[in-house]
Each structure stands twice: as C-alpha cells, then as structure tokens.
Symmetry: C2
Subunit: 331 residues, 2 copies
C-alpha cells in the first residue's frame, strides 16, 4: 500500500519483497525502491543477494531472529527523514517483515496520517517460485503453514495440519526444519498420513533460483527422511497431484467437465450434463438440488459428502430465498 | 522451471505470470520473456495490460473459459519452432495457465526431453498483491480457495471452507462471485460463521494496482452484502487479525514470546520461560512434555487443545526416541 502523498522531506519505510533472490525475478518496483533508499535493512543473506544495488547506502545487516530490531532501526531513520528499505526474500507480507514492522509502528503511535510514509512492494513468495520450478502443483486450492514454533504454539500448528490434510489442500510447508527443530516435520507427516495416501507426491525445493538450488521429489511416506533445512520449502500435493517426467502437476479439474482426450474445449466436447462457462452439475446449485431431492437424512448425507452435519442440515432447511436461509443459520 | 538447453531452432512455451497488471510490478524475467516471444497468447484483458510490449508479435486473444484452447494454440506454434508466451495475471501457477498447459502437453505426448522447451516465470499472485495493498494480513498461515464451481464440485469447496474456518487460517477467496454465481459467497459466509466471530475483519480488493482499484473493509457478518465481482479477491482474517487506521494486520506472534511494549528483541525482554531463537514453551517439545506429564486422558486433552484424539493418543504413546514413535504410529 502507499499512503497519501507527503511533503518531500518526510521519511519513508518501504517493505520490499525480493522474490526468490535472483535479480531476474525481482519486480521493477522492488529494484527501484532499493535504489531510491538511503538505508537498506535486512537479514545478512538477503543483503548479499542485492550487493550490487547498495553503493553509497547505509546498510544494516541483522541476524535471523532480530525482526523487531530491524523495524525499530527503520523507524529511527525514517523519523530523521530518511528513505528506508526493509528487505524480505519472497514477499514481504508472507511470514515477512510487514507484520513485525506494523507491530512496531503501531506501538510507536504511527498512523497512515503521520509524517512517515509506508509502502509495501509485493513479490513472488517461496510457494510461487518453488511451484514454478517443479511444474504446476498450485493449480488448485492450497495453503501455507510454517512449522516454526518459535512464535506459534504447537497445538495451533498441529490443528491446521490436520484440517488441511483432511480437506485435501495442496500444502506448502515454510520453515520445515532447522538444527534445533527436527521433529516438527515428523509430526506433520504423522498428521498427514492419517488422511492422505502414503504415496502422495512431495517436492522439496532448496535455495530456489539461487546457485545452490536443489529439487527432490519424494512421497509423503518418505518425506521425513529427505534432506530438508531452513532453506527448504516442502510442497505436498493433493489427492490428484502426480509427478510425471520430473514434473509435479495438480489437475485444475478440466477432466470433470470436458472430454480432455478429445481435445478442444468450448462446449463441443463437454461431458453429458455439463456446459462450458457454467457451474458443474455437482456445483452448488446442482448439489443443493440433489440433496434436497434426496430422501436421506442430514447425517447420512453429511457422511456421504464428508461435510459437517450442521451444514447439510442448514442446506436442507433452506428454501430458495436468501431471507429464509438467513433464518436457517440463526436457528 | 527451465528444462535442459535445446538447439536454438526448437520451439519454446513460456508460462508468464504478469503480477497484478501494472508493469511496475512485473519481474524483469516476465518482461524479457514477453519481449523474446514470437507469439503471445492470453485472455483479452491481460493482453491489453501489456499492449506496448507486443509490437511485431502474433497476438492470440482468448475468452475466459478457453484455457485448454490457449494451451493447444501454444503447442501448435511451438511445434513450428516458435517461442510462445502464454500470459496469466498474478502467478501462472496459481489457478493460472500452468495447469491446463501441462494437461494438454502430457496428452499430446510431450516430455521435458522432447523438442519443445518449457519455462514457467513466477509472479506475485493476487493474494500477495492484495495483501500488500491492505497492510499485512498474510503474516501467519493462510490459504487460497477458489469459489468457482465450474470445474470443482461444491462439496469439495465447502469441505475446505469448513476446515480452514475451524483451524483459524487467514483465507484468500479467489473467483468469489460472478454474474451466474452469487450464492457461493453466501455459503462461504455461512460456513465461516459457524467457527468464527462475526466481527472477523474482511478486506475486498478489486482490480489491485490497476486504474479502477478499490478496497473495502468489512466484517465476516456483512461480507456477503459487499460489492464483490470476478475482479475481486476477498481476504478473511484469522482470530487475531485487526483493522486499525485502514490497515489489516495479522500479528506474527511476537507478543507470545516478547514483551513488545518494552521494545527490543534479542532475549533481553523475552517473557518468563521463553528464550530468543528457541521454540516457545508451548512449542512442540514443551507441549509434548506438558501432555505427557498430565494425568488427563487423551480424550480430555484432545478437547482442551482442539486436536484430534488419535493424534494426542499417538503423542502420549510415544517415548522420547524417534524409533519408539515410529512404532506408535504403526500401532
């Protein structure tokens, strides 16, 4: 975001996502933001990735755990009228510096109307760049979970792993393992194996788009034995994901509607009962009609469709109009 | 991904993510890929965003539902030795053209060793760019769910909505509503309200970083009444997300470990029992020690921590060593 225009002599904090680290994959705005900064603050590894852009600038290198310090140092300098770029690898908003920076700014009484301007420069996050390297795993619903319990209680993380394993998301695990945290990935595997096929494809991408890049394909069953570090992102497929010819691909679902083997889309080769540009026959309207026409109980339907019974009951209770449905929710 | 180097006269298909649409937020590689293409294929709206890069190129504009056709046309031209850029807004891998393109290529017998080279150019997806515009909502675990039931059965979508509402993810809804699909967002709201506070912050971002950009903040309770279209992304916060001064921020969790009000990080102001650079006292090791030392049953602990009973039972059964834990899983 960019707040309203300020007088030229006021300070500015720019939260800059570098993307994977190779400058080829940095946005034009990220590059320009670094070039116009008086001061660049970041984790030492990321500072090295943009060393050639730093001539004549103050550079503040910080250790991995000093996120709040980075934000405080940025605020100190912005108050003096400096332009400060706080850099993150990937996207500054995804487990990046945007969070701690706002925590520090709000704590200091900053508002968007104050003298310091804020700008967030988005970039491709690790899940985007790792996905691009392995094929097309994120073509369907996905989620990101950090296995780091340095700031998050383990029950919260475990609850999330269990929920998305059950609901068949493609999952990107951030911070999967470190020297001190070797068991979290084993626990994640245990939670996933309760719901998913042991042969579910898994990709482990390390140092994406950097000189030491490595990609390993494995399965859920063998995931915890793979070479995983803090520089790795782990991608776990959904129940339809495959690895073929060294490419991890999750189908978008065209085969649900079209006879893909016959080739062209556009209605001509839509399957019986399906229509191009329209919801599937098993989409919301079709599914609602099916359950309402059924003579089965909410409990039976809930078990069939693996949905919570309250939801199926609400759908069965709903008439056509939204007002009646609202009452069904309240009931 | 880039496959191994091919002779210069063979064709190439590049899947290019444009980012939000303003060229400022396009990566250097995305721009270069479009410039080096002989042919650019995409949805008409996205073609317009890069009109000034298209001089002298063949341009193939396609309608919204013709994804497989776009891939087939790209393959036809690549077989003639052309370089083809298939463009997607955001990231080509996230509900983008990477999926249908691989479906078509595999169907045609393509492998990475064949004469046609493939490259995927990652970009910032809608969730990254919309998040950057509203503040810092994605600093903690999040997921993306498309509400489109054109290719996905509704029970699959509903099951995912229910799971992530329960497990307190920040959620980005893609394709939330269209002329023909107005009820899906109402159903999403119904599923969320079962688990989440009606006051949960929601941001609706339309046409991010484009001339008609608009941002609306609302609550879960009022979400379905907001102005939402196919050009909108809906961001639903988690239970800690707030909207202050027009900024949507999800805390990363520093307050779990540090006395943020006293300022500096680095161990000095860590809360009693917590240590900088180490897992929380409620992290995996600490939590396991707590439940093992407890005299409560697995069922009671599962209810307390809102975790599945099988998981708590497995943890209780596990001894210290990984070998013993493996047996506990197998048992």
């Amino acid at each position: 975001m960019t707040t309203s225009t300020k007088p030229a002599n006021t300070g500015k904090i720019m939260l800059v996502g570098l993307g994977p680290g190779s400058q080829e994959h940095m946005t034009a705005r990220a590059r320009a933001a670094i070039l116009e900064a008086d001061c660049v603050i970041g984790y030492a590894t990321y500072i090295r990735l943009i060393a050639d852009l730093l001539d004549g600038k103050e550079v503040v290198k910080k250790a991995m755990t000093e996120e709040l310090d980075r934000a405080i140092e940025a605020l100190d300098r912005a108050r003096l009228g400096k332009k400060v770029a706080i850099i993150s690898s990937g996207d500054a908003g995804v487990y990046g510096m945007a969070g701690p920076t706002f925590e520090v700014l709000f704590q200091a009484g900053w508002t968007p109307d104050s003298e310091i301007e804020m700008e967030i420069v988005p970039g491709a996050s690790a899940l985007n760049t790792c996905a691009a390297l392995v094929g097309a795993p994120l073509t369907h619903d996905f989620c990101a979970i950090s296995l780091s319990d340095l700031l998050t209680p383990w029950p919260t993380i475990a609850r999330r792993l269990d929920a998305v394993a059950y609901a068949d998301f493609v999952v990107a695990l951030y911070n999967p393992k470190s020297g001190r945290r070797a068991q979290q990935i084993v626990e994640a595997q245990r939670l996933f194996l309760r719901h998913r096929d042991p042969q579910t494809p898994v990709a482990i991408v390390k140092s994406a788009y950097r000189p030491k890049q490595s990609i390993e394909f494995t399965t859920l069953e063998k995931m915890a034995e793979a070479d995983i570090s803090m520089l790795s992102t782990v991608l776990i497929g959904n129940s339809n994901t495959t690895i073929r010819h060294g490419l991890m691909v999750t189908p978008r679902g065209y085969a649900n509607k079209y006879d893909v083997e016959r080739g062209r889309e556009g209605g001509k080769y839509a399957r019986a009962g399906e229509k191009s540009g329209h919801s599937l026959s098993t989409g919301l309207d079709g599914w609602m009609a099916t359950v309402k026409a059924s003579d089965r109980s909410a409990a039976e339907l809930a078990a069939d469709y693996r949905l919570p019974e309250y939801y199926v009951a609400a759908v069965l209770a709903s008439a056509a109009g939204p007002d009646d449905e609202r009452q069904a929710i309240d009931a």
